[in-house]
Amino acid sequence: MKTAQFLFLLLLSLASADVYAHKASDSFLKLQIADGKITGQWDIALRDLEYALGVDQNGDHEITWGEVRARESAIRDYTLGRLSVSNQGARIPLSVTGFGIERHSDGAYVAMQLAGGPVDSEEIAIGYELFFDVDAQHRGLLSVNGANDLRVFSPEQRIHAIHSARVSVSFAAFVKEGVWHIWKGLDHILFLLTLLLPAVIRYENGEWKVATAFRPVALEITKVVTAFTTAHSITLMLATLKIVRLPSALVESVIAASVVFGALNNIYPMVRSKTWAVAFGFGLAHGFGFANVFADLGLAGLHIIKPLIAFNLGVELGQLVIVTIYLPIAFLAREHKAYRIFGVQGASIAVALVAATWTFERALNFKILPF
């Protein structure tokens, strides 16, 4: 592992010989405030540090890691001296617990891991003054607890107040995100429903068979949902912890294809037993899809396990709600002809068409449908 890591880093350093340099000047500050503590990461462009502070010692217009390390304490003092976190008026001291490099689209940034505390979960004020005296267009881009409303520090806005609700309920907030994303995730819900439809009624040997008792139905549904849940939890974890990474276009195409399969299977049954195995197999792909959503919440590099568990829990809860609503309705409706025609066949055809369009869109990377 050590040799592989070293070789990988060497490869990265060779790739870095490109002339990156400039878009507009931004720094990226990601903070997590939980359990009375602050942790975070602050990415600051080497180009900007060079302009304000000087890092290139030998004047050869190249900044090397050695030169950065030599200026490490000057960089820490300069930057931390222009960032303040206060709790009810009292300043919370911050320290640098890690010092490295991160690449962004426009070049190399110093990445500092920050830690501080204690925080008594009331109003937190974050003050930011970095570079404004030499670059009035510099902006500090702040995200707290992976929240989707990102804050911007500018010369006109040097303080942002973070409210306690966001700070103290981060676990619940991520559960909510999970629930929200599965409810919004039309493709995930449709896949699940297409697999569940046959539980109460199916087309077998040329005739429609209606489930006779509730218990086998409930059992079947539990098996299918559990298999789906287990599979997508596994890949959500694997992908979020960066153990496995896949191109998102591929993942999204497979997810859409799974819905096509699920829908078609209700009309021309290809899989009649062991539906749970299909749910598991395609569930793996759906998990990668959830991981992309989770990644967009912007927690990369920070304490990710609790939010990940919370998010996953939210996804399961959201699913459970849908299944719990669906199951009794479907069971009661199963005898009616309308359920068979519209509910199973009609809906399956419609879903298959939509999902086929999605597969086409996602595989070839263009959009037709507005959803």
Partner: protein, 379 residues
């Protein structure tokens, strides 16, 4: 059943793993992390408060010149910071306010820039720099009548080559392309024309020539401009577009392949790669970088990239409806031929009636000639 599951898993894992950016510690001290531009200088030691307004203005003007050479937006920030306490001062000297207006124009704060220019011209009606800036600004906004009137005032105070270029530039978007091209070629006959004016005049002439379907003349003019300055960002961008539109994407790629730091040129690099069609992974890197830059710009409230972003969203993200929204938003702010071009492209791609109508109306109203656009619209 087992077989199917394994097949799926195998297929998934066979695909390449995408490397994501993560903090890392470089392998050793000699690793080069960043290369600085060749004319890079550090921030001056004295903060704005300790400078005189003349020193501050001089410093800002240097930064503005650097900005115009490479379109590196950091220079605008440095320029603005240099003007520190005089940024909102209505009593500042004219040169300072003109520098301010120039910065605001580059940040696409057009109305604020115009206000500053009005301030200067109110007390100094013969300020040529202010008239030139005002004329250009009004032209970018698409206020062509006002731009023409402003150019007439410019003619009274500025050297001939500058006024001729400015007037021709406006005529070139109002249906008198051929005339304008001839006028510019007359300007170019002057051997004493300063180098940066010559580049500016050549590029404007090249763009007009391209629009009126004089491709041969356009290419000669572009190449001449690049001979004078092979790293001129604006010219490189315009010439790459010209080449890509004519199926010469490989040549376009060669021009911009080492200029990833510039958003404008990174866009052309990606478009060239897409047209060439042989380097999907490199294209994907460029596409992803551009997307990150546009997202960062949006987060910081910067809307000066809309034209480029619309083009990227249309051609690299293949999202015509998304590109349409951006192109329309862009059109509300600026109306140069390049803005009409992207509007027409997305309008044609989405068959959006309102957008098509906007584009067609513009052409009828201004008599703009542009063969690329004419192909796309029902005129």
């Amino acid at each position: 059943m087992i077989g199917k599951r394994f097949q799926i898993l195998a297929a998934l894992s066979a695909c390449c793993c995408v490397v994501n950016a993560e903090p890392f510690v470089p392998a050793n001290d000699a690793v080069v992390l960043e290369r600085l531009p060749k004319d890079f200088v550090r921030a001056p030691k004295n903060v704005a408060a300790q400078k005189t307004v003349e020193e501050a203005t001089h410093e800002a003007e240097n930064h503005i010149r650097n900005y115009q050479a490479a379109f590196d937006p950091r220079y605008l920030g440095y320029a603005q910071a240099a003007l520190g306490p005089w940024w909102n001062d209505t009593n500042a000297p004219s040169a300072t306010i003109v520098a301010r207006a120039s910065i605001k124009q580059s940040l696409h704060h057009f109305d604020a820039a115009l206000k500053d220019l009005e301030l200067v011209l109110g007390r100094d009606p013969r300020n040529a720099q202010a008239w030139l800036l005002r004329t250009t600004l009004l032209q970018v906004q698409g206020n062509l009548n006002a731009a023409a009137q402003s150019a007439a005032r410019l003619a009274m105070v500025a050297p001939r080559p500058i006024t001729m270029t400015s007037i021709a530039s406006i005529a070139g978007v109002r249906g008198r392309g051929r005339e304008a091209l001839q006028a510019l070629q007359t300007v170019l006959l002057d051997a004493g024309l300063p180098k940066d004016q010559r580049i500016w005049t050549l590029t404007i002439a090249a763009e007009i020539a391209e629009r009126i379907d004089e491709a041969g003349a356009a290419e000669m003019l572009f190449k001449e401009a690049l001979t004078l300055d092979s790293s001129h960002t604006y010219t490189l961008a315009a010439f790459s577009d010209f080449l890509i539109a004519r199926g010469r994407a490989t040549e376009a790629f060669e021009l911009v392949q080492n200029r990833r730091e510039s958003d404008a040129l990174l866009l052309r690099r990606a478009l060239a790669l897409k047209a060439i069609g042989k380097a999907p992974r490199e294209l994907e890197l460029d596409r992803a970088d551009l997307k990150e830059r546009f997202n960062a710009a949006r987060r910081r409230g910067d809307s000066s990239h809309l034209r480029e972003e619309a083009r990227a969203v249309l051609s690299l993200e293949n999202d015509a409806p998304g590109a349409l929204r951006l192109a329309i938003q862009n059109w509300e702010i600026q109306r140069e031929p390049a803005d009409l071009r992207i509007l027409a492209e997305v309008a044609a791609a989405t068959h959006d009636e309102a957008a098509i109508e906007k584009a067609v109306a513009w052409i009828h109203e201004t008599k703009l000639e542009d063969v690329a656009v004419e192909k796309l619209l029902p005129l």
